[in-house]
């Protein structure tokens, strides 16, 4: 079952939230919050709140773009990341 379907079922009450959390925890899928919102046709803010709840229950992890934290900590780390991104785009 796709994460979208799980969340949709949880939102419509067909699944308890902890059940949804368990399913998501066992899935290894990764999806952007905004992508999930678009797929479900639910506002981004709603998904963000639900995702934060699931994270607090330990069901999922939320990954922030590393750019801000990395650029704060070390210019070298950030430059290395940018080199990789550049290389990645070039190789498309």
């Amino acid at each position: 079952m796709k994460i979208q379907e799980v969340i949709l079922k949880a939102m419509s009450g067909k699944l308890k939230w902890w059940e949804a959390a368990e399913i998501i925890a066992h899935s290894r899928k990764e999806i952007a919050i905004v992508e999930l919102a678009a797929n479900l046709e639910v506002p981004v803010g709603v998904i963000r709140v639900l995702a934060a709840d699931l994270r607090d229950q330990g069901a999922i992890t939320i990954t922030e773009p590393p750019t801000e934290t990395v650029s704060d900590s070390s210019d070298n780390d950030y430059a290395e990341l940018l080199h990789k991104v550049l290389d990645g785009i070039r190789a498309l």
Partner: protein
């Protein structure tokens, strides 16, 4: 909140913002390179934050939706690049700050027939300190203005790269995204050298 590679899959997300005036070609730009159909993600906002909605003078409409484009590109090195097209209408500029947070940089798409439509975007990224490149959208490959004329018209400094880009053409979009990353890289390197 975690940062760096996700514990589950080890993918690192990065993002680039695509801005510009309403109807300048942001959706086309995102669609030209995204591995998924550009998604339109809607955020519901109330009239209180959206401002006046003259379509509903009787006040029956309590909320309005705003769409932003979203694209995804898997890169090697276990990176995922997300593209976010900002909502073009002026009254949704308050959303830009959140979109710009954590972004590598931005593309400001310019239609030289309506050059003033991108002033707000340029102003925003300059004030915020987000590195950006100006991409002149060349429909049908026509180069309407010389770069220096564009630079003058947009009142941007010599450090801002100007590229020409047909938003429908994948390789053009690819080159534009590379220009953004290169520009950010240059800035990081010069800041490192200065400190």
């Amino acid at each position: 909140m975690g940062s760096g590679p996700s514990e589950r899959t080890g993918l690192t997300p990065v993002k680039i913002v695509v801005a510009g005036g309403f109807g300048v070609g942001k959706t086309t730009f995102v669609g030209a390179i995204s591995e998924i159909e550009p998604l339109r993600s809607e955020a519901i906002i109330t009239d209180a934050s959206a401002g006046i909605d003259e379509l509903y003078p009787d006040g029956t409409k309590t909320e309005t939706t705003v769409a932003m484009d979203f694209g995804r590109i898997s890169l090697k090195h276990r990176l995922v690049l997300y593209l976010f097209g900002t909502p073009g209408q002026d009254r949704f500029h308050f959303m830009w700050d959140e979109l710009a947070r954590g972004a590598i940089g931005a593309v400001v798409l310019v239609d030289t027939r309506r050059i003033d439509a991108c002033f707000a975007a340029i102003d925003f990224f300059e004030k915020r300190g987000t590195p950006f490149v100006v991409a002149v959208n060349t429909f049908h490959g026509r180069r309407i203005h010389e770069p220096e004329l564009v630079r003058e018209a947009l009142r941007i400094g010599p450090e801002v790269p100007i590229v020409y880009c047909d938003a429908r053409v994948r390789v053009d979009v690819q080159r534009t995204l590379m220009a953004v990353v290169e520009h950010t890289l240059e800035r990081v390197m010069s800041e490192a050298a200065a400190s």
